[in-house]
Subunit: 354 residues, 2 copies
């Protein structure tokens, strides 16, 4: 039996397939983003740190921020890779990850020559007692709220406690907030402190996944310097045109974001009630566009394969995210497709033989 | 005294400055590259490996190549970073670099957790005896012909001998051929073999530095797989629009390349005769757009600083490329500026006090 992985489903569509797989917005970016293309004719290297106009626009979005505290990267992925490589010093360091985690995180940690350790979420939330215990001796912690794959948002009190604990212990917090503009329950709480690196991107908020414009923000000037030096050898500037398009996105009508969120919420409500109607246990998503129900069968991997091969429904195996026994559904698709997907899921559950 | 580095000069221009600094074409890309912008409206993730149409176009440019043997990267820089990280296995491996080298290479090797060792060029050429001796026990060798910073092209017999030696010893050859379309003396010789990774980019041939579209080609399917897996965690797909522009570049009038080369050659002839008229010893550039003359003063670092600060001429210190006692001149600028730069260099040499 061929092992499936997220890569198995990239670019797989059409032919009657319903995909709850890839985590990318299906609705287009703000129109301003494409306006840029009419006149853009630059071609020379940009600044390795990122274009000053984009960094200036971003600095206005963060409290007391300065453009020099930002680095524009090839998506949030490169931001995380650069930060981890920059804090590695051959010391065999450990990095704390809440579990379930975004599936690249453990790979990112190992690729930077370090080791992941885990604190297991309880009902999708960080258990601060366990966190406090596990974080000791770690070089950094990598938080993702709202979370891919759980869809949960961490409590503000928890996030404040994490700020305090990590600052006291001098542990870096890498806060991946790429879903910060897609929260249904409250405003985003920005983790702050001299030891914090905020990671974000234009992929989810502005549906610009393919352009790979991410960034990091930290008040640690020495860390910024190390990261820029490293990036000057590993990829140089981020695509100058993608950056110009990202700048246009920052200048687009703010209603774009609230309207997107409204659509996401409708879809969230629909898929949650669909899954609950099938009797599936789940953590209600408070943000992002994922839900991670428990699948009440013994062999979830076989169920996952059968759901795809017999019923043409793509989902991601919870195991890939450190959540065995579950499947991740991305609800970045039309409500009629969500409904059809729920029907097929029901059929698969009925037909599946243990 | 503040230490200067290549980063000191990025984006420094105007104000009467003549820059022989940054290595980027000053003439624009083929017009087809910007035609793409009129209609491009995609926004979703692309394939991590790179868009199939671009890989198919590239495969036609290489002998017996298949699109699956290519990975499109954020410039040649990311290609080199990924290959080095992919061959690292915590074994404290050594990578052989001809010296002078492109200034990022030793950083790339160390960032991948390995150690650079060097074979010194003789009159800008690889000494195959020394190469044979030094390459033993190395995991890979990183060749750059035509070379930045020397401008020299390695002899075909030497390149063939390198193919043989490395294949026999099972050593990977990373062949950075980003200047392959800018050779004045002969056609490029493509190093080949099952152990070869060819690295190239659209930056120099098509003046697309800012878009960061590079690629690697190897027939080693296992290595491609490891690299794509790694890239899925560290940066995901390369910017989809940059790739569409690169595809357009492959479809542009081939005279673009020959016409560019003609301009480069005129500039090469002018700067070489200018430097020789000042009595400077140099290796005649056979490709790329750099020349690396010896500077007949004791303190070249101070001369370099004075040339910049008193005479507003930017050059790069040879030391940054493993070539102490020399300065690197990039001749990616108009002939009248080259002439003015030579005048100022003459003045600096006359006024410089040891």
């Amino acid at each position: 039996m061929t092992k499936l992985s997220p890569a198995s489903f990239i670019g797989v569509s059409g032919n009657g397939i319903i995909s709850f797989g890839s985590g990318q917005p299906d609705m287009p970016p703000p129109k301003e983003v494409f306006e840029v293309l009419k006149t853009f004719r630059e071609f020379k290297y940009g600044m390795v740190k990122g274009q000053l106009d984009l960094r200036t626009a971003l600095a206005k979005q963060y409290p007391n921020a300065d453009p020099e505290q930002f680095v524009i990267t090839n998506g949030a992925s490169e931001a995380i890779d650069l930060v981890l490589r920059a804090i590695h010093d051959n010391g065999g360091k450990r990095i704390l990850l809440p579990r379930p985690y975004y599936y690249s995180y453990p790979h990112n940690v190992r690729l930077a020559g370090m080791e992941p350790v885990y604190t297991d979420l309880v009902k999708g939330k960080i258990d601060i007692g366990d966190f406090r215990h596990k974080v000791k001796g770690c070089a950094a912690v990598l938080i993702n709220s709202p979370s891919n794959p759980t869809g949960t948002v961490q409590e503000i009190e928890t996030l404040k406690e994490i700020e305090r604990i990590t600052q006291e212990l001098n542990i870096i917090v890498i806060s991946d907030e790429v879903y910060k503009d897609i929260i249904y329950t409250r405003e985003n709480y920005l983790i702050q402190g001299p030891h914090v690196v905020t990671v974000n991107s234009f992929s989810k908020t502005f549906a610009m996944c393919g352009y790979r414009i991410g960034y990091l923000w930290t008040t640690d000037a020495e860390l910024v310097k190390r990261i820029v030096e490293m990036k000057s050898h590993t990829s140089m500037n981020t695509c100058i045109l993608g950056q110009a398009m990202a700048l246009a996105a920052t200048q687009s009508d703010p209603r774009y974001i609230s309207e997107q969120r409204k659509v996401w919420k409708e879809r969230r409500d629909m898929i949650v009630s669909g899954l609950r109607a099938l009797g599936l246990e789940l953590w209600e998503p408070e943000g992002a566009f994922y839900v991670l129900p428990k699948i009440p069968v013994k062999d979830v991997e076989r169920f996952h394969k059968e759901l795809y091969e017999k019923h043409k429904v793509i989902t991601y195996l919870g195991e890939w995210f450190g959540a065995p026994g579950r499947l991740r559904f991305s609800y970045a698709l039309d409500t009629d497709k969500i409904l059809e997907g729920m029907k097929r899921l029901k059929k698969c559950m009925e037909e599946f033989e243990e």
